[in-house]
Amino acid sequence: MDNLLEIKDLHAGIEGKEILKGIDLSIRPGEIHAIMGPNGAGKSTLSAVLAGRPDFSVTQGSISFAGHDLLAMSPEERAWAGIFLSFQYPIQIPGVSITNFLKSAVAAKRKATGEPELSPAQFLKLLKEKMALVKMKGEFAKRDVNVGFSGGEKKRNEILQMAMLDPVLSILDETDSGLDVDALKIVADGVNALRSPEKSAIIITHYKHLLDLITPDVVHVLKNGRIVATGGLEIADRIQNEGFDGING
């Protein structure tokens, strides 16, 4: 089967500083890839570049997503094509409720992909169903996006958005950081419930814990802007025991 995502010799950075120094990565439909690495390895840069954050620039290489040139697409076009980034630090938007935020996002995606508009009742039904998935109570949807949320609430809100937008490729950027065991389980259950043979995910993490709950097909180790090792869960075990220092490909 064709690759869903194909990254070739990707060099990218911010403000003239090169952070990714030649990444090659292929992901097939249905696969979950974990990317592990120490701080500063380039994990968040990779997720930012995939989602199209404007302050990062790609200096070399290519990314193809479902046959399209991803780098030529705006962030919103990438979202419409099925890319979703769960932010490591979700952004607060005072004055905009979760309901209105998701209404705009879902409506824009359906319009762009030629799907019929949801009626208000259909939208609310969908929202209720997806909120149950991440164990959120109804009144939560009235709150302003991420304003005054605890760490766990922010991450559950990310997974709620992911569930509502039904992406083909989900990128979870350190979704586990700062979560207690219960919140981590809610997030993992939410992600697992959305798994399907067509859908892929990239899970970026420092720790093996999340990978015990969401089993990846492939584990990569990113160090100094390069993938230095690729394998199965045994790599995560090695990192757990020996740290990142011992992994040099």
Binding site: A79, W80, F87, P94, V96, N100, S104
Partner: protein
């Protein structure tokens, strides 16, 4: 009690003396295309008054808007809170002069004043001159002012969810003005949102 003044449409008193009411909220609205000087003074002459003054100026083109607001606490034990927010673009210029005066002996006064502007273009100008003149010693008073551009992190967050850039900018503006417009009726809220 709420009083809404649409600048250029409603007559605005230049001066009010507050001596009989307990609670008052005044809202000044300057819509796009309106240039105006808005001098306004209010004297609080009664204890236990809760006064709120809100202002919104939408000046996206070449408007000139100038607020000159004076709040005088002549007696103690009253609270005033001012919040002025504006979106300024093109070559427009907005100015906010705000004086809070606390008379001698007006103890236990609380007076807060804030002015925040969102700049849409490099050619837009905002100027803010907050002033506190305090002759009592047991008071809580503060002022704050900010001006800045739309937050790029917010914008990217929304776009990454598939909200088109133009709509994301509009949502940011709605978010910015919401502390003021949330006190208006729905018709007025919609009128304002449609002009952002």
């Amino acid at each position: 009690m709420d009083r809404v003044y649409r600048i250029g449409i409603d007559e605005v008193p230049k001066r009010l003396n507050l001596n009989d009411c307990e609670q008052l909220r005044l809202i000044f609205i300057v819509m796009p295309g309106v240039s105006a000087d808005i001098p306004f003074e209010i004297n609080i002459e009664k204890e236990g008054v809760e006064l709120e003054i809100l202002g919104l100026y939408l000046s996206p083109h070449s408007e000139r808007v100038k607020f000159n607001i004076t709040v005088r606490h002549m007696v103690g034990g009253s609270h005033s809170r001012q919040l002025f927010k504006g979106i300024v673009g093109g070559s427009a210029r907005a100015e906010f002069d705000g004086l809070v005066y606390v008379a001698k002996g007006a103890q236990k006064t609380e007076a807060f004043q804030e002015n925040h502007s969102l700049l849409l273009d490099n050619g837009a100008t905002v100027e803010t001159h907050p002033q506190l003149e305090i002759y009592a010693d047991d008071v809580k008073c503060s002022h704050g002012a900010t001006s800045g551009y739309l937050n790029p992190d917010e914008l990217f967050y929304m776009r990454s969810r598939g909200i088109p850039e133009a709509e994301a900018r509009k949502l940011q503006m709605i978010s910015f003005v919401s502390p003021v417009i949330s006190h208006l009726n729905e018709t007025m809220q919609n009128q304002i949102i449609s002009r952002l």
